[in-house]
Symmetry: C2
Subunit: 167 residues, 2 copies
DNA sequence: GCCATCATGTAATTAGTTACATGATTAG
DNA sequence: CTAATCATGTAACTAATTACATGATGGC
């Protein structure tokens, strides 16, 4: 279970409110992890209970800003270094691409065309992130993963076009 | 929720028992979807209830062989063509790579080295699958996704090595 | 006879989604 | 004044994991 470490990681970059974290999951972590506010608020409470985050102040509209503690940083490092990652994955896109050969040729072609269009959208989005569009600090190394995403998309796009040509 | 369609897809390739499907998830679908037998048996019962699969015979040790029905094939096609895929994902590897810059340089280097080793293992496995190692029928186009996996791994490996060089 | 593998299920728990519920502030 | 956005939470439900439970067959 990686949600607590995703939250710790985002708070290690900068403190923030639950609402703020929800947007940061969406903006900078959407290719790696997804979490909605209904998961984030209870998780912040649990992490506080474990001493890994603490309230760093309250703002307007009843907002609570959270910061990672030294214990939280230690736990994040431990997880990155010691815990062997769970490589099993569920990826609906990969599942679809795997099953696409089951479709008759004409339906397969139109499905491939839709996938190509979606992939172009995704690449445009990641290129903006790789160029740095304010979601994270300007020179933050996190942008490296967006660049990786662009390269992976290029490979996937080329593959989709080959499949289309072969159909 | 894609589990029912993953099961239908595997049964569209060939009929099989719940036990058999469990192994096929592991062998040919592990890069796209993961499911254990405790999910598969109840799912087969549900699909039977919806008329999308049917029992195609019983074998030794109380085994039940399942086959997809025409209704099941129609549902699978409909899902592939009409349902817009859920692109939100959770990928622990991507999360780790995203958070790696938070580690001090020496720990980051050893973490990157471990990732490189794991990636080489994964590539070896996928290359065997792309060459065709009996998991699916010999000329089955499903092998195309293994080839895509190899190419993606190449890009990821190059990226990891760049990160290591920059650390 | 015993161990590996084949084979099927259920129960308890944890994780994640969707829906419900409420209220403050700000820009137009 | 009103709509968008900021802001936080809980409840109900669905999906997935881990643990429990049992038994057959085949090779050594």
């Amino acid at each position: 279970m990686s949600l607590p470490h995703a939250v710790l990681g985002l708070l290690a970059v900068a403190p923030g409110t639950g609402y703020d974290l929800t947007r940061r999951f969406e903006a900078s972590l959407s290719h790696a992890w997804h979490a909605s506010h209904s998961q984030i608020y209870p998780e912040l409470a649990r992490l506080q209970g474990r001493g890994l985050v603490q309230e760093a102040g309250r703002g307007a509209r009843g907002s609570r800003t959270w910061a990672i503690t030294d214990q939280g940083l230690a736990e994040l490092d431990r997880w990155l270094v010691e815990v062997q990652p769970n490589r099993s994955q569920r990826n609906e896109t990969a599942l679809r691409w795997f099953l696409l050969p089951l479709l008759p040729a004409d339906q397969r072609r139109s499905a491939l065309e839709r996938e190509i269009a979606d992939m172009l959208d995704s690449t445009a989005y990641l290129e903006a992130a790789a160029a740095g569009s304010g979601e994270v600090a300007d020179d933050h190394p996190f942008r490296a993963t967006a660049k990786l995403g662009v390269r992976i998309n290029d490979v996937m796009l080329a593959w989709l076009r080959e499949q289309l040509a072969d159909t």
